[in-house]
Amino acid sequence: MSEPMLKVSGVHTFYGAIEALKGIDIEINAGEIVSLIGANGAGKSTLLMTLCGSPRARQGRVHFEGEDITDLPTHEIVRRGIAQSPEGRRIFPRMSVLENLQMGSIVAQPGSFDRELERVLTLFPRLKERIAQRAGTMSGGEQQMLAIGRALMSQPRLLLLDEPSLGLAPLIVKQIFSVIKEINREQKMTVFMVEQNAFHALKLAHRGYVMVNGKITMTGSGAALLADPEVRAAYLEGGH
């Protein structure tokens, strides 16, 4: 079997003296959508941030396409082909939508801007309507689309999404998830997604991980996890 695209082995991350990640092992293969679900404070976002080198893992290794990226600075990791749509979107509020997208293409191949822009605007027609608007004046859903679009502009091979459904109306959530599915199918984009919305995230994912208190407690295919009584009880009951 071929090497996984991203291999996280035995990663421990600390905030000061507090151990947020207690030995995480995760593998993501090229072309997959992998979802990581868990409750508030389980360490999901910390894992995503650790992949990007901020905070840094104190123990354990992160390999991306065979290369050890554990100790690389954040901007170097991004240059290897990992793009992140960070928690809370973090778009540039005073810049226009187009400028935001332009910022995304910093590490992309020169000359790819027009093609990538076309692609992102086709995925999110709403962004095209808002292209000259100041990003901070858009709705939450539009900002989320922009955050994902901006990440895509860098032509990544691995897309990290941190809670893309956070604070969005159900209809918008559906839209966002269908776009994620489309990116994966059409562009063969590998996606690693952190979500609280376990139902949608697992339905979409090829495989899933469940995190509790900084440890991975369960793993399996998306469908299997969705059917698992324990997962249902902890993350799905009452919701759907």
Partner: protein, 495 residues
């Protein structure tokens, strides 16, 4: 000043009846605040006595200003309650009284005339538009629109201003004093534009910008003093040395953020000044350095009646009558060129990856890093480039003054430059010019106000922060647009 009175939000029907007790209470409160402020600021005056400093009380001025504030506030309140017309007449009468009748002090006269005038204007506005008062949000939006329009108009105003600045020395108006003020303004505009790179574009609050100004000034002064190098050799060297000191400072402090960063830059500014004071053998300490050579005409000629050996005299070279004004005019053009160079650089860099990365850093550091921006390098670049421009301005300052001492590089200079950038609207080039005219130009114009100059300065700042909290011209235009807005694929300008 306009605090939102309770009449502001009241519906029109209710505004018909005049709320006397409310208005009086409001005016009384304003008078009380005025009392608290004027007792220390106006009521006490230090005077030089043979025995030492003494304090003289001036109760009548306090009473006068408290009364003026009371009636002014009452008038403002009543404008919003359907009594605009009487208020208009009374305010005009007050202004006329201020003009006609001899008053004990000039300041009282100014306050009476200006205050009466402003209230009369507002009343007239209310009478003509039949609108009692704009709400705060309405006013803000209106001002934003005006600011955006002004900023769009700068496209046309800027060339006119530029031509005006170029032609100024050739007009008969240009005497020594006017040119000196022009040079002073241009120096601050250049410093403001330089600091705007760090504060406005990269979003780093630098409270010690004057340090680089000092490094530039002392670089030239010391190089000229010890090695006899000319201004034209030293100008680039001063820029380089200042940029180097920017990098030197940058390495340790750029890991810090926000307030901590600001405090460290403040400290750096002081360190540079204290070194200059204490390194007596090298820098001349508090006595400074005098006899700094004036610049020559690009190394070709000198601006003196009797040039040194081997040099031509400027007036002979061009067959002109000798005039001491020639050098001043040359200085004026020199600083104009330097300032414009900074401006062109900033306008250009905003459209290049480096400038865009700075703006992204200002907006959100974490997001910038996650997009592959090397934060440290970008910030260092901003720091070094801004420091370099500060260094240029500094060596110009040294050659213009002919004398420098650490006293010229105190914290207040940093504060003034920062005030120019913030009041103008961070990141706005035109804003820097407008703010410089206000902050540097107005105090020069109102020298007659003497001691009250700084009071007026403070008041101006408060007014700007009340009405335009994000700066005078804070509107920001995007640096790229789609062609025609329809076909993104043809966005050739995007890259």
């Amino acid at each position: 000043m306009t605090m939102p009175s309770h009449a502001a939000g009241a519906p029109h029907v209710a505004a018909k009846a005049v709320d006397w007790s409310g208005s009086l209470r409001d005016a009384g409160f304003a008078a009380f605040v005025a009392l608290l402020l004027t007792v220390p600021l106006v009521g006490l005056r230090t005077i030089d006595r043979p025995t030492g400093l003494g304090i003289e009380a001036r109760p009548e001025e306090v009473v006068a200003s408290v009364l003026l504030v009371f009636f002014g506030r009452l008038g403002l309140g009543l404008i919003g309650q359907g009594l605009a017309l009487p208020v208009l007449f009374l305010a005009l009468a007050a202004a006329a009284v201020g003009l006609a009748i001899p008053l004990p002090t000039q300041v009282l006269r100014l306050v009476l005339v200006a205050g009466g005038g402003i209230i009369a204007l507002r009343a007239a506005f209310a009478v003509t538009t039949h609108r009692s008062k704009l709400t705060l949000a309405e006013r803000d939006r209106k001002m934003d629109r005006v600011a955006a329009q002004v900023q769009h108009a700068t496209k046309y105003i800027a060339p006119v201003a530029f031509i005006g600045a170029v032609l100024l020395p050739m007009t008969p108006l240009a005497d020594r004093q006017l040119l000196d003020i022009g040079i002073l303004l241009l120096t601050y505009i250049m410093l403001g534009w330089g600091l705007n790179i760090v504060v406005g574009l990269a979003g780093l609050l630098d409270l010690g910008y004057v340090a680089f100004y000092a490094v530039g000034a002392y670089s030239y002064a010391l190089l000229a003093h010890y090695f006899g190098l000319s201004f034209w050799v030293c100008l680039p060297l001063a820029g380089l040395l200042a940029a180097f000191s920017g990098v030197l400072l940058g390495f340790p402090v750029l890991r810090l953020r926000g307030d901590y960063f600001a405090i460290v830059t403040l400290g750096f500014g002081e360190i540079v000044r204290i070194i200059l004071v204490n390194w007596y053998q090298f820098t001349g300490g508090p006595n400074g350095i005098s006899g700094i050579p004036r610049p020559s005409f690009f190394g070709l000629a000198e601006f003196s009646r009797t040039p040194a050996e081997g040099m031509a005299a400027f007036h002979e070279l061009f067959g002109l009558e000798f005039s001491p004004l020639h050098r001043i005019v040359f200085m004026y053009y020199l600083i104009l060129a330097l300032a414009l160079a900074v401006n062109l650089f900033t306008l250009r860099i905003r459209k290049l990856p480096l400038g865009r990365a700075w703006e992204a850093l200002r907006e959100d550091e974490i997001a910038s890093a996650s997009l592959g921006i090397n934060r440290t390098n970008m910030k260092l670049a901003a720091f070094a480039i801004a420091a370099m421009f500060g260094g240029f301005a500094g060596s110009f300052f040294a050659t213009r003054q002919g004398f420098i001492s650490p006293e010229s590089f105190t914290f207040i200079e940093s504060a003034i430059i920062l005030a120019i950038v913030v009041l103008g609207g961070m990141g706005s080039q035109a804003g820097v010019v407008v703010a410089t005219l206000l902050v540097i130009g107005l105090p020069e114009a109102f020298r007659e106000l003497a001691d009250y100059r700084m009071l007026a300065f403070g008041m101006g700042m408060v007014v700007i922060m009340l009405w335009r909290p994000r700066g005078l011209l804070a509107h920001r235009d995007p640096t790229i647009l789609l062609h025609g807005g329809k076909k993104p694929a043809t966005g050739g300008a995007a890259r």
